[in-house]
């Protein structure tokens, strides 16, 4: 992980939260969809230079591509308007619909790609560390971290249960209906086993003195650099300019 870190990785997590805020706000208030696509292009440049471009685009496609197709199809076909671009059988594609879809997708695209870029370049442990530094309780950080860790764990356990049920003769392969049916004998053991593990987890926390009322140490440290502060200032200025501009001259 650490070896292919680029400049976005080195930023303090809060700095990146600020850019997340700035790009999202600008995406929402910008008067025309063209600005959002420019913003997206800028984000792409950042992703390519400050992170890994390929996984960035991949997760972007996975998360929003299907949604975009739906929005374009539905909006361009069913939004009422006068400027008919072309007709397909009884459907007519209207200019207003296409523009509306482009606008909506622009906003989504900027917000989605900002978030993806944020999580791609920010180690969750670092984010939590920064949050702990600014005073959230260790209990909150435990809840967040253990929830995130639980996802791959649960996946692993559900695979194990699936295999066990298959060994007992439960049909798990085949058409959609069989697969859905196969989920039922898997869910009950999955949920029950996570409950039984809960008790031991609580005991583990107790055994490790988690409930001890002392100031906890953290062996990992995270520092805010002077450049983080400068970048944040610049971002805030951009945000202020955008908001003021939108209220006055930016139409």
């Amino acid at each position: 992980m650490k070896e292919n870190q680029k400049y976005l990785h080195k930023l303090y997590p809060y700095t990146k939260l600020v850019y997340l805020l700035v790009t999202s706000v600008i995406a929402i208030i910008s008067p025309s969809w063209i600005y959002n696509y420019v913003l997206f292009a800028i984000l792409c440049i950042f992703a390519a230079t400050g992170s890994d471009f390929k996984p960035f685009i991949k997760s972007l496609c996975k998360s929003v591509l299907f949604l975009f197709i739906m929005i374009f199809v539905l909006q361009s076909l069913f939004r009422s308007g006068e400027h008919v671009l072309f007709k397909v059988w009884i459907f007519s594609v209207k200019l207003e619909g296409v523009l509306y879809a482009a606008n909506l997708c622009g906003i989504l695209l900027v917000i989605a790609s900002s978030f993806i870029l944020f999580f791609q370049t920010t180690d969750l442990q670092d984010l939590i560390l920064a949050m702990e530094k600014s005073g959230i309780s260790p209990t909150v950080s435990y809840v967040v971290l253990s929830t995130v860790q639980m996802i791959p764990q649960t996946k692993k356990r559900s695979d194990a249960i699936m295999n066990a049920q298959q060994a007992r003769g439960v049909e798990t392969q085949g058409n959609l209906m069989t697969r859905i049916k196969a989920y039922i004998p898997m869910l009950a053991p999955l949920i029950l086993s996570s409950f039984t593990g809960m008790e031991e987890r609580a005991l583990t926390l107790e055994a490790r003195a988690f409930s001890l009322n002392r100031k906890k140490t953290n062996i990992h440290e995270i520092h805010e650099h002077p450049y983080d502060r400068r970048i944040k200032t610049v971002l805030y200025v951009i945000l202020a300019l955008a908001v003021i501009g939108r209220l006055t001259i930016w139409h």
Partner: protein
């Protein structure tokens, strides 16, 4: 005054029909290595929970009698304070990880971070325990991705590193191969020699014969036998409580039948000594 003193303790889990511990009386001195043996369901783990204070502070239920640590009632301590005094390593290694750390190194650090020790001391202690347990290779691995035996060692390291005065260890070798088991016993022995008190639940009587000072035999929630390792482990009554006697004790009992020897050995050294005496004709 004994370090741990249990007075007439009886306890029933909230969901239990019968009492899991019945009129337990036990005194454990500082620096002793006490082994707890008995069949499954005889109350060994519940006894450990009672010494650690999880019974009755975590598991509610009917609780009679008292557990004293240093003369103070265990319920007067908070769970956090007890974590500093008593290390508890429980049976199932798979759930004994914090679930929030991404490497074994950080996992071991978790308890020390909670104790609020200075960073440098934490790092030093972890290096030491990792070397002691021979888990250098696991240092950067994800704790979720370890085998049972590896997780068991990490669980042991995570508690040992906190250096509590008393250690309660519930079957630490269930997932380990014979070599790993020997290693763990060597480590427990080192801990004992450093003056700490150890309470260990374990079925491997051959190893207990070698290391334990005292042995408690439990059956159906009661203490049936209690005494020095030699007294208890050489006693044929053991088998009534579902405990397999050490190999040399079984040999010793046969020798007693055949040759009328006066002692029953429990370790290889004692057996060797006895056989020498038989050969010399010292014992007829």
């Amino acid at each position: 005054m004994a370090l741990i003193e249990i007075n007439d303790l009886s306890y029933r889990y909230p969901t239990g029909d019968d009492f899991s511990l019945k009129n337990i009386n036990l005194k454990i001195e500082k620096g002793e290595f006490v082994a707890v043996i008995g069949a499954n369901g005889s109350g060994k783990t519940t006894l450990c929970n009672a010494i650690r204070g999880f019974v009755p502070m975590f598991y509610k239920g009917d609780y009679f009698g008292k557990v004293l640590i240093d003369g103070e009632d265990i319920t007067n301590f908070s769970m956090g304070e007890l974590a500093v005094k008593i290390g508890y390593i429980f049976q199932n290694p798979f759930n004994q990880i914090s679930y929030i750390k991404e490497t074994v190194f950080d996992e071991i650090a978790f308890g020390l971070e909670n104790l609020g020790l200075p960073k440098q001391e934490i790092l030093d202690r972890i290096e030491r325990i990792i070397a002691q347990l021979g888990i250098e290779a696991l240092k950067d691995k994800n704790p979720f991705e370890l085998s049972g035996g590896q997780q068991q060692r990490v669980a042991l390291a995570s508690i040992l590193v906190m250096e509590p005065e008393i250690l309660v260890i519930d079957e630490p070798t269930s997932q380990l191969d014979p070599l790993g088991t020997d290693q763990v016993f060597d480590i427990i022995n080192l801990i004992k020699q450093s003056g700490k008190t150890v309470i260990l639940v374990e079925h491997k009587t051959n190893l207990l014969a070698r290391y334990a000072d005292k042995v408690v035999v439990m059956d159906k929630g009661q203490i049936k036998m209690y005494g020095t390792a030699h007294e208890v482990l050489s006693n044929p009554e053991l088998e009534e409580y579902g405990v397999v006697m050490p190999t040399y004790a079984r040999l010793g009992l046969k020798l007693k039948e055949t040759f009328g020897t006066d002692t029953v050995p429990i370790t290889v050294e004692e057996a060797e000594e006895l056989l020498r005496r038989i050969r010399k004709g010292a014992v007829k």
